[in-house]
Every structure is written in C-alpha cells, then in structure tokens.
Symmetry: C2
Subunit: 481 residues, 2 copies
C-alpha cells in the first residue's frame, strides 16, 4: 500500500460552489445558536443563561415547541383515520364527517403507505381544481396541478425546469423570502432585485419593476421570471387589485413567467383588502400567453401543518409537453408525502355548515386568525413606540418586519465582531432574552436600512414585546452616541 | 399595446436541457400508459380492454392498489397516535408499547405538524445512531446522520454537495436503479458505468471497476464517487464480504466517495448471505479517510411505507464544515416530512420480545418476508422454464430481472415502432395483460442483451406468472423467425 497521505474527496474546498454561495438565514447562524442554547437547557445547564427558554420567532412554524398552536381537530382526525382505517367505523371517537372524508380519501388513495402518482393523487388534484374554480370563477384543469412537498417543493420543481444557470435571472422582491435567493444560487442563476417601498406600506411600484428589468438586461441577464409574494413575506403587505393588474400586464408584456407565492392567502387581517389571485386577474384580462405558476401550502394559513410537507402549484398556460417534463422531473423523487397530500385535501375542503365538525372547526379557525390579527396589531403598535423603531402594520401573512435605527457605536461594535449591525442586534437579542428572530439582511433590505423579522405566533404577545422593549432600551442605552 | 404575437417563455424548446436528458423509466412511458388504462377502467370503459385490471409491477410499491400489502399494525398505531395525541390514554384501542412510543416521540417532537430540525428530530437521529452501532459494532454519531425524504432525498442532497457539472462523474452499476443516472443528468455530470456479470449471478468484478475508472480518466472525467447497491436493484444479488472488502479498498485507494445504497438490507432471502454494511467493513479495515454515505429507507424492507417518504443517510468521515453545508442545503427545503421521520424511528426500533405488540409484529413481518422469498423463487424458476428466458435467483431486494432473447422478427417490429425491443416487449405485455413492468433499458443492460424488471410483490404469483408465460409464448410464436 502506498504511504502517501490520502486526501479527502469531499470537503469545503471541493464542494459544489453553488452550495457554498446559497444562504438561508431563516435557519442560519442565529437559529443554529438558538438550537445550541435549547440543547444546553435540555441538558440541565440552563442556569448559566439569562433566560429559561428559547422563543423561536425565526420561522413561521406555529406548532413548534414553545409556541404550541393546537392543530385543527378535524385535520388530525382524518389523518389518524387514514393511518388506521380500522377505526373508521368508530362513531364514538370520531365525527361522521371525519370518518366519511377518510373513507373517501382511502377509496381513492388505497393506502397512505403507497407511492401516489408523482403529481399527486388524481382525486385530490381534482378537488384542488374545484377549489380554484370556486375561488376565482374560472375553470382549472387537474392536469395543470401538481401536489408538492410544501410550496418549497413546487418552487424547486419550477426552478429546475426554468433555469439553465448563467446568465438566467429571476426578479425577486427586496425584502423577499430567502427560498428564492437560495434556489437561484443553487441553480447558478442571478437574482434580479426590485425594491418594495417601505415608506408606502411596502407598496410595489411598477416603475421600479421596469427599471430593475431594464438594468438587468443591460447587465446581460436573461430575465425569465418574476416572483411576487402576496400577501408579502416578510412584509405582511397585501397587493391592491390595481397593483395586481399592473404586475400581470408587466409580466405578460415582457414574457416573464409569473411566480405567484400565494401561500398566505388565508392570512388576511385587513378586511378592506381581500385576497385576489393572479389567476383570476390573468383570466379577467384574458392574458392567454401569460405563464403563471401559483403556489399554496398547508404550512401557513390557520392550519400551520408545516411538518406534513404539503402544498400545490397550478401551472397556467404551460404546454402539455412541458408538463410531461415536469411530471418526469417530479417522478425522480417519486411523489410528495401522502399525509401532505391528505392535508392539501383538508386545506381546500374544510367542513361545511351542517357537517358534524363544522362548529368546532370554525371556532378553532376563528381563534387562530383572531390571535394572529390582534398580535400583529399589538406588535406594530409597540414597535412604533420604541426608540428608533418603525413598523408597518401587517395586513396579512404572519410576520412583522420592523426597521431599527441603531447608534453608530452599535454599528462599530458589530463591525468589530465581523457582523452586520442587524445580525449583531439579533444575536444580542438572542443572547440576552432567548428570543430568536432573523436579521433583515437574510431577506434583503434597502441600503442603509436595518430590520429584523419576527412572527405573530407567540402566545402572550404583550410579555414578548415587553421583553424585546426592555432589551431594546438597554441596547440603545449601552450604545448611545 | 403591441400587436406582435407574444411567445411563451417556458416550453420544451427553452426548458433546462438537463431535465430533457434525464430519464426515469420506473415511471416512464409504460407506467404512464398503464395509468391511462387504469383511468379507462375506473371510468367504466374497461370492456374494450383484454384485461380487467392493471397489475403494477413497475415499482417497489407494496401497498399500492392492486397489490395491497397490509401495513404493519404497530407502525400505523404509532402514526395515528402522533396525529391524535388525545387517544394516547386509550388502552382499549391501542397496545401499551404503541402508546408509550407515541408519547415518547411527541415528548421529543412536540407536534408532527411542526417543522423539525432540517437534519431531522435529534432524538430520532440518536436512535438511528444506536441502531447503526448495534448493527455494525462500531460507534455512530447522530451529527453524521440526516433524516431524509426517502433514500432519494438523501441521494439528491449528496449529489448537490458533490457534483459541479462537467467533467465530474460518478460510477454506477449496469444495471442500476435509475435514480442515479437521472440525478447525474440533472447535475449535468457524467455516468461512469461498470457492468455486473450476469453469468456469475450479477457478481461485481473488481477488475472491471478498475478498468471503468481508468477509461473514465482517459476520457477526461473527474470521477468523484462510486455507487454500490447492495442488495442489488434490479439484480437482487447480495455482495459477499470479500467483495465488499475489495470495493471499500478500491474506493479508498482512488479517493472516491462510496455511495452505499443499502435500502434493501432487511430483504435477504438467502440465509447463507447475511447483510454486511460498508460501514462495518470500512471500520474493520480502519479506512479512516474513506468517505462513505450509506442510505436506508422506510419504503422497502418489510414495512414498504413508500408514501411516508422517510429515510436516512449516515455520512462517515466527512468534516464538520462539510456537514454544516449539508445542513444549510437541507434547510432550504425546511425538513423531511414528520411522519417519514416517525417511520424511521419505527424502522430501527421494532417492538422487542415481551412488548405487547411483539407477537403480532413478528407474525406480520415474517409473513411478508416469507412471501417475498417464496415469490422470488417461484418467479426465477418459472422464468427459467420459458422460451429464451433466463433469470438469476434473487438473493434479496424485491425484484426479478430476467433476460429475454427475442426473435429477429420481434426486433424488426420494435424498430418499426421506433422502440427498443425490450420496450416493445413490455408494452405488448401491458397491452395484452395489464401487467406493467419496466424494460431493462431503463436500468441499463450489457449490449446485445434484453431484460425487464418485475417485483415480487404480487399476491397470487402463480397466476401472475401463468399470465406472463401465456403472453410470452404467444409473443414468441407470433414473431418466431
């Protein structure tokens, strides 16, 4: 045997550089540190810390330990019955509508332990089509619908089809949900940024879209698609119908695939701003060549069933040939998880008035949505009262994205630690309070501005905000210029 | 508005060409046709067909409709209890060990509706480490273990880390499971084929590995990894310990990442050939720089819970920095489905002697494995009696991969239809009998040979083989030279 020292084939010097470049702050440095604190507490060494528990506000994960949003009873009953079909006749434990739903789904699926069609169970796709038809007033074809592992699975599918590396690009909002920038980095393609106007409630200005696209063109970027997140993440802003019309026309004019991230369509707190889908507007406008991919998920809304990994995408104006390629691509990972697919069915077919579960379901749903709305309002009000902090009211979604103005001394201290000022602030917040939020840099922010994103998922929001306020005041006092 | 005709941005002329190149025959043309027949039968137009039902033998999907392998009772009870924790105290319906397991898992997980850590629930990873330690007699670190959405999810993760497009390559067996060739096509990297010796029971010849690697080198290929499937898919062959030692040394010598697809480790029919893991051999040989990634899945074995999308990978001899990158990459799709993770726990911690569920679990397990073994034997025996067909005995996994020698006239007829002869044969089989199998070309086969893959999952294997035999005889008579 040779005596030379063998080298390691795969390490960070030989890794696919696209992976190195991808960033995903929602689960980045600060959440990783929070995990370590959490482990320290579980291991019984929490005494050394200035807090008793980690409060995970870095991600929209309502059922997480520490937040503990109760799952919807009807959803879980149907899920349990699909796991144990022998309980379907047990009328003592399960309401009739849950038993009927489980029977119906199992009749179509067979077993939740079987691979389904790679696009998802045909029956559930048909239900999704009916849901879209009744939502938008326009027909939907089940063959254009793919069930996916969360919305992320759908975005991953579309990006694989769409992007060929350099010099392809996709327009994304700033701030954005970092799935998009990370997926673009993995594809070796470019982000084409357009900025939302914080001073006008995170409004989307169509002139800025035009400018961003033409700048990209002069940089040699082949811009292929436009991502719109409505309701906005992290902004919480809801687009007006007028704005949606402009955007659809813009995408149509420039032959961009319109990627409509509509996963927060059930999270609307401002009754004067109903959710309007891009599908409806595109059909209203008869934009027959506008290619639209609209995403939805069981992880958000009021269900918050993130762990199920369920979602769907509707492809509008894509050819049959293209969808065959999409099906082939989906088939390589076989199929989305079956309980995720069952959850999609539950998402789009809630109990109806008169059904045995209707009252309980409605009560659970209303309680969750009322909580989200009131917490969002409390957060914005309280943030706006803090020294150097401003925060737009969230009209929807499940986040607040306050802007923080930090003293020069704090910025210098951050620099000394090799951190951006927002990351420094958020790390200090974690170290002092156990509260885990994400620095604005993880979503993108206009130059010279600093933010963080938190969620409206914390029960006892007053206490939570009191803790942040106390930290913030101490932080500002410590670093005051 | 301009009057020029707008074009469609994304169609098969502008699609990512890597997607066009990827092939996945397990769900390819023939299964798609079978789906259409299935729909025709469900729609009440089956009378026009020469069969009553589709028999899906294209994929290892035991619980599929038409095969209907019953799920393991203990697994489903625990799954249902994690969905509906309020049933955990119901001693009338659920055995104590199932209730205890669900309690323990929920204590660790919180809710199956929450995102977990992107690598999977830490507690379950710890259990996997204990399982590996007891299987191999060597320690395993939970930090090296990633829970994944089936083994496919793990392979996808590793290929993303490892491959940088051209001129990277990975050695794969011929025949292989097409996940590997498809994933390489998507990465824009090369397949480096090595042929298994059908005449010696699909033996892996180390000289052919050496030759294949050196040929690749002279083609300018940067070969980074070696895929071994043991027990083999589609071959059903089990590697001897001697062979495993040679392979490990080969990978070590050439600094290749060893990708050990060991998802059929519980599917062993030949008692003289126990499963030996690459991890054990690598540790026995003290190959401290050999990088090994070993995959396992809940979809195979005797559980067959494909729809759960559960699995895991153990990374051996990868740096902490590299694993951090892997974690970041996993985090972009958030986490594997929670019921898949629960299933992994059940896979590696079956009921123990003395537990309330032990007897029933053992009975169910034994029945499934005995069926697989006896059906595999029946299939090989009967295939070997057919005109022009030879078939190695499957020692493990869940497939038969018979070689078929077709008359020239059949090959000419295939050519006329623009099909390869094996695809032509399999399509005729489907059209005439409703039996759906996969042509050997989907897995790769030595030049001049033709095969198909079927599964050992059909109840009533005698009837099944009788149908194939009748078809085969008629086919051979029709095309006899």
């Amino acid at each position: 045997m040779s005596s030379r020292i063998r080298s390691i084939r795969l390490d960070n010097s030989s890794i696919n550089p696209k992976v190195l470049h991808a960033q995903y702050a929602v689960r980045g440095e600060i959440p990783v540190k929070a995990d370590k604190y959490g482990q320290q507490i579980r291991d019984g060494h929490g005494d050394e810390l200035p807090f008793n528990a980690i409060l995970p506000c870095n991600i929209g994960n309502p059922q997480q330990q520490g937040l503990n949003q109760k799952p919807l009873t009807f959803w879980r009953q149907v899920a349990a019955l699909t796991e144990c079909p022998e309980l379907i006749n047990n009328a003592q434990l399960f309401p009739k509508d849950a038993r009927d739903r489980a029977s119906q789904l199992l009749h179509e699926i067979g077993s939740v332990g079987a691979y389904s069609h790679s696009k998802g169970v045909p029956f559930i796709r048909k239900q999704v089509a009916d849901f879209l038809e009744s939502r938008d007033g326009y027909s939907a074809d089940p063959e254009n619908i793919f069930l996916t592992a969360g919305a992320s699975g759908g975005v991953n599918l579309l990006f694989h089809l769409l992007l060929c590396g350099e010099p392809d690009g996709v327009m994304i909002p700033i701030p954005q949900y970092p799935l998009y920038s990370a997926s673009l980095a993995l594809a070796g393609s470019r982000t084409v940024q357009y900025h939302l106007d914080e001073n006008k409630g995170w409004e989307l200005n169509i002139d800025l879209l035009e400018k961003s696209l033409s700048d990209a063109k002069s940089n040699g970027t082949e811009t292929k698609a436009l991502v719109i997140i409505n309701p906005g993440n992290p902004t919480g802003a809801i687009l007006s119908e007028e704005n949606i019309i402009e955007i659809a026309k813009f995408a149509h004019k420039h032959e961009l695939v319109l990627i409509a991230d509509e996963v927060y369509q059930s999270n609307i707190y401002d009754e004067s701003k109903p959710f309007i889908s891009f599908k409806k507007v595109a059909r209203d406008l008869k934009l027959d060549t506008l290619q639209l991919a609209s995403f939805h998920s069981v992880s958000k809304g009021f269900s918050g069933e993130c762990g199920k990994r369920g979602g769907f995408v509707e492809f509008v104006n894509f050819s049959e040939d293209l969808l065959s390629q999409a099906t082939k691509l989906a088939s390589i990972s076989l199929c989305p998880p079956l309980q995720g697919q069952v959850a999609v069915d539950l998402l789009i077919r809630p109990p109806k008035e008169g059904d045995e579960s209707y009252d309980q379901f409605s009560k659970e749903k209303d309680e969750i949505l009322t909580n989200y709305a009131s917490r969002s309002k409390i957060m914005a009000d309280r943030f706006n009262k803090m020294d150097g902090v401003t925060c737009n009211n969230a009209e929807g979604a499940m986040y607040a994205f306050p802007q923080i103005r930090l003293p020069q001394k704090a910025q210098d201290a951050a620099k000394k630690e090799g951190k951006s000022p927002d990351a420094f602030y958020c790390m200090e917040l974690l170290n002092n309070t156990g509260i885990c939020v994400v620095p604005g840099g993880g979503f993108g922010q206009s130059p010279g501005t600093l933010h963080f994103r938190t969620t409206c998922l914390v029960p006892g929001t007053e206490d939570y905000i009191n803790t942040i306020e106390k930290f913030h005041q101490e932080f500002m006092d410590r670093y005051r210029d």
